[in-house]
Symmetry: C2
Subunit: 580 residues, 2 copies
Amino acid sequence: MDKILRIDMGAEGGPKVTEEPLGDYTGLGGRALTSAMVAREVPPLCHPLGADNKLVLAPGMLSGTTAAMSGRLSVGAKSPLTGGIKEANAGGQAAQVLARLGYAAMVLEGKPQKDDLYRVHINPGGVKVILDNSLKLLPNYELVERMKYQYGRKITCISIGPAGEMKMSAATIAITDMELRPTRHAGRGGMGAVMGAKRIKAIVLDDAGAKMRSPQDPEKFNAANKKFVEGLRNHPVTGQGLPTYGTNVLTNILCEAGGYPAYNFKEGRFEGAHKISGETQAETENLRGGPGSATHGCHRGCVIRCSGTYFDKDGNFLSKQPEYETVWAHGGHCGISDLDAIAMLDFLDDNYGLDSIEMGVTIGVAMEAGLLKFGDAEGAINLMKEVGQGTHLGRILGAGAAVTGKVFGVERVPVVKGQALPAYDPRAVQGIGVTYATSPMGADHTAGYAVTANILRVGGFIDPLKPEGQIQLSRDLQIATAAIDSTGMCLFIAFALLDQPETFQALLDLLNGFYGTNLTGDDVVALGKRVLSTERDFNVRAGFSAQQDRLPEFFKNEPVGPHNVTFDVKDEDLDRVFDW
Amino acid sequence: MDKILRIDMGAEGGPKVTEEPLGDYTGLGGRALTSAMVAREVPPLCHPLGADNKLVLAPGMLSGTTAAMSGRLSVGAKSPLTGGIKEANAGGQAAQVLARLGYAAMVLEGKPQKDDLYRVHINPGGVKVILDNSLKLLPNYELVERMKYQYGRKITCISIGPAGEMKMSAATIAITDMELRPTRHAGRGGMGAVMGAKRIKAIVLDDAGAKMRSPQDPEKFNAANKKFVEGLRNHPVTGQGLPTYGTNVLTNILCEAGGYPAYNFKEGRFEGAHKISGETQAETENLRGGPGSATHGCHRGCVIRCSGTYFDKDGNFLSKQPEYETVWAHGGHCGISDLDAIAMLDFLDDNYGLDSIEMGVTIGVAMEAGLLKFGDAEGAINLMKEVGQGTHLGRILGAGAAVTGKVFGVERVPVVKGQALPAYDPRAVQGIGVTYATSPMGADHTAGYAVTANILRVGGFIDPLKPEGQIQLSRDLQIATAAIDSTGMCLFIAFALLDQPETFQALLDLLNGFYGTNLTGDDVVALGKRVLSTERDFNVRAGFSAQQDRLPEFFKNEPVGPHNVTFDVKDEDLDRVFDW
């Protein structure tokens, strides 16, 4: 994993493939690498869909090794949704395979003159960029079937659906899971539109014959991995909650806490929650698909196994097990309490290649605009189909919540930096509000998941309804997250890391055992700070100021029940998040 | 003109009317007043369509007097199009009438809970706010007919069309002209959407019985007015060019100079220009409507008379004489060279209440996106009808060029701060490029009309193809414009002011004669600077940074013919425009 693969789609005479050593980027992986490359190589005022933007796909520092949980792929670019820098990472098989093929990063650059579509095939024998207009507007599931037919079952696909081809700002990049289904997505910020602008429909990876990456100190590394896995299995969240119910275990917890944003952030609890909770979902899945349907990993080497399969009433595959954020966005946010409908919406998101958070929030904004009624599941499914077909209405929705709000003159639009808020009301979970407001990524729960100390009492407890302590909490978590996102590790390891010093030490030992280094906790913090500073510097050069580090005003003015709270963290305190 | 009229549309129990003295705002008028009020009273991060935004309508300092050319009404608010502060001013009768009714400003505040629509009636007897849902979705022409039927022919109307009611970011506020037609518009930045959000459909003014405002020193004032009028009549632009051909005299001049942006800024000349030039237009108007059709003022007291009437082939009224910017936006920008079609598009803009620059540029962007072909006049008319009807496609287009570009994934979108560029290519007229980039208003030719020295050789000559001298030129013109926009004077007086010191002195004498002051040229400069600083300060608080003072990158990268020039003014020089 010491090479950078560049594909220049704008080269004269057609796509040009080059390889180069990591050079100045040596030592970086995942988000640290994508953000460093984007910050250095992309002009901050360029058009996100233009030739000057670059799409960087980077496995993490530990991807491609035997380290558990190391399967996250970071995808970076200037975002068509936010206009700022973006890193969206996803599970699935791609990070492991790309790392084993020797690539620390794959960079898609330039832009073809014509509208032709390409697929890329990479195996240990080399890289091929193949003109293939037969793939035009294929949804992700059908696309993967085609690739399977052509290249066999041992591949991994990175692809865009029709949304990415149509350059919609809510478009994702799909990554296949262990079942070779396109269910894992670099979801946020329109990375799929950037890939669409490069006119690359699919990247097919085949690591047959490639070796596992081998550590400098195998003994230390293997011992650390064992301790690391033990730590994850011992923690109640990663050892019990997530494997049993998936991420949707949070529905009941957030409703109980009054921090579940229902009806486009008008209420803090959803009366239909019990119908769509993780408990109900797991029960449904086990009933329809047989016991254990709710528990498997999204990539080899996962020991948390929060993923699952959702079957319809007749026991046929309907979608992967929808995540909490998806169930919320398409569910409570829109007043919908029908799990089957939500699973269908999840499938449509994956198939068209759309961010389920952005789309759910957008449909809620469309409901606010009066296009359909809150609770109208069939209407929501029809809207999603319009997006997939690229009708005029579909184009509006596919551009995300901010544009939909602007087009329909809606005032209540829950976005920061143009990106839709996830599934925690910032008034009742004020720590996550700080993260939404200040993350260089726009509103993003994964950027600094303060739900830990605010709600789950992981890593201590900070009263979620009060502003006190939230700045420090969000700051620490944003720093830690930026570092974790660079390792290729799934963010869910953070629960155990926060509560169990020995598990954090095991992660350090994994890194040191693999690279032969002597990294300490301070080095990890320094890495996280460096990543955030790089990203914020890009955003400043792209035109962001402190005024973009704010929540929409209604969170300050309108109290939300049941606690009747507003977001009370002061602007001047938000401006201190990155003062370290 | 010493009172502020406030209508709080969000007051409990229904709209509440209050009057108050000018107080701290004493001495201000027009843009100086709207910008001061918006900057002080509107929270910069509020939603432009929310209760916290305020719509301020202010006659200029000399409006309502006998001073020639003093009929401009300034309209200010936080803009739904740019997100920054906005002043859009318009001719027509309203400024004179509002001033004579005693109002220095009329402020529409708050927001009703319900969707009901209101009309406002103001005469010397008082102010009435009347619930009137029968006006819903009426286009401007029909609306004015209704008001005429109800209140008689001696009224002046300020109104919004369906676009404003639908809160489209390209929506205007229409003002009736001397023929009581809704042809003059506060066009830019979506002021109509703000009025729509306040749910006020029409403001009917009747100054029967109200007196002309009287000067402190009538002798000085009248002598100055005489000199002022002489000066305007002596200058070739205001004495000959504009009265003979209207503003469209510029089509041939700009094409000749290679600064006429054709086909969405791909070319610097338009081969169909001779079919839509001012000369052809005046000939057509005189032929169809009789000699002199092309020459009358838009308000009483106008001596330049650049306005006119456009008749169809059968001699029936089709629209007012379309302005140069409109003929360009709907014409050359879209590759359309059919004057009748352009006049129809102008009529539709006025009738629906839409900014003709924003709409023309937006349709060009839609052509770029492949929705219709460049040159398709009938297609363009159909698109405009979709906007008026508020179809999904119409909603997209009505949100302006930036949103249309985002929804359809178009890279070549000529906007600054989200507002469409007017009819001068910034690569071939670099001075106006500086104004587009740096004006607090977004891309706006009227904010600092460097076409004067770049092309018309008014106020000296600065080579339009080179960056040298453009910063100073734009700076001086932006300062002068901010001051002129505060007087209520039509900006076209600037031609004579720049070339004839005695005409500038006459303007000073008009102000001093009226107010009994001793203002000098330095005071006017100081006023202009104060207005600009106030506006820029608001924009900073609304989240703008130096990075928003930039043109889209394609103006730097793609040379435009016939001169094969790019926009070469350096970023660091753009940042010096307001260093005075």
